[in-house]
Symmetry: C2
Subunit: 259 residues, 2 copies
């Protein structure tokens, strides 16, 4: 008899995690979302039930996975009786302890990746971080996580939060800079594709050398000619200009300090 | 008879370009650098002469490639008589016209990539942008560039400068964020390696989808719980806190506007 999972949430993370767990680690029997259509889209891929009503959440799942926006976790979970089943959230920023009031068996399963619904990912390469309120629950979650990922580790709430902050810089802020570059190039009628090899090499360098050693460009050598020249060119882009200025300073200052 | 090249400059870009051109497109006969040891290190790899004296620069090269920090270009070039040989700079930010006073035959060959001396690159995948003061010189440079890269295009000075600005965002600023994330994780005793799959996927997404569509994380949905929580955690990192705040705002504002 396999494990039965209930998913509370049907966003990017829930979609990829539920698809990875389904069949490999158990069976997703139900998907809840505040938006019925979101619940339906995910449930259909898993041949599961869907609902947008907390009162319809099944009582007989073995594990309840919560992948909701942090702000609505309490609002949703407070309406559900989990009968002390294993209740697991997937948030980088929330501590394990937020689940204490809803069940006596709690855990965290945090996959560190950027998920978009439309894009396939190889889940086996994604680092998955586990925390639980007992050794037994920890072992249950490790066993499940190891069925979908080769990179499973235990990490406490404080370190998970630090990791999430670092991920915001290395992923969300990085992607925003790709977007700003793409929009700026579109304005100048230059195709964004010409930056692709640079984007790839920049990422490859950071994973194959220390990123501090990989830094290049005008800011690290504080080449004022180029910097001032670029700032002048950005006159009509006040936001880019301000970011250009503050980040160039940050780069220069960081590299002034000795290794 | 192959072409003879003289390199003025021996930094990261000069090193990779000279190595790519050597034997494939001609022969690098001499490397000049203000630092004799830098000139020697590169010259040795090419079996070329080296010098740190402008008066010793050979007169019989067919093309002189200039890969110097923008700020010293004039200081160095004004001491050399190029006898109207083809004089080519490799800078994203300098216009072609800066070379007018030094030769009647001028051009630009700008490879768009981040180069570190210690790291090999496949030059054939690097976009190379050409500009020249005559059709003849443009064709000479295109012919040379096509011997080392599959992605050669003509681009004028104004657009090359825009491209360089976009590259600063998509590479230099991006790498700085990797560095900030790495330093922060080191402080929290978490290995930076756990971010590698995220860094790679973030870059892959940006080249396979529109980066704006690929954006994830708390800022895009302005999840104030997470954002405030993270800002509090960064209390002892004022610089990270300020960047976190300003870039989160920038993300949120950009995604408020319709496609």
């Amino acid at each position: 008899m396999g494990l039965k999972f209930c998913f509370i949430g049907a966003g990017n993370l829930a979609t990829h995690l539920a698809r990875a767990l389904h069949t490999k680690a158990g069976e997703v029997v139900q998907v809840y979302s505040r938006s019925l259509s979101s619940a339906e889209v995910l449930a259909e891929q898993l041949d599961a039930d869907s609902t947008n009503s907390t009162s319809e959440i099944v009582a007989d799942a073995d594990i309840y996975f919560v992948a909701l926006k942090d702000a609505v976790v309490h609002e949703v979970l407070s309406k559900i009786d989990f009968q002390n089943k294993l209740l697991v959230h997937c948030s980088g920023s929330l501590p394990l302890s937020v689940l204490n009031v809803y069940s006596e068996n709690t855990g965290v399963l945090y996959p560190l990746q950027t998920f978009s619904k439309s894009r396939e990912v190889d889940f086996s390469l994604i680092p998955v971080f586990i925390e639980a309120n007992s050794e037994r629950n920890e072992n249950r979650l490790i066993e499940i996580a190891e069925k979908i990922s080769c990179k499973v580790a235990v990490l406490d709430s404080a370190k998970r939060k630090s990791l999430h902050i670092a991920a915001v810089f290395a992923c969300n802020f990085v992607n925003h800079f790709y977007t700003l570059a793409a929009n700026y190039l579109a304005d100048q009628e230059i195709p964004f594709e010409v930056l692709h090899p640079l984007i790839e090499e920049t990422a490859n360098k950071a994973t194959e050398m220390q990123p501090k050693q990989a830094q290049t460009g005008p800011a690290i050598r504080f080449d004022e000619n180029i910097i001032n020249n670029h700032l002048e060119s950005l006159m009509e882009y006040p936001e880019l200009k301000e970011l250009y200025n503050s980040i160039s300073r940050s780069i220069f200052e960081l590299h002034q300090t000795k290794e």
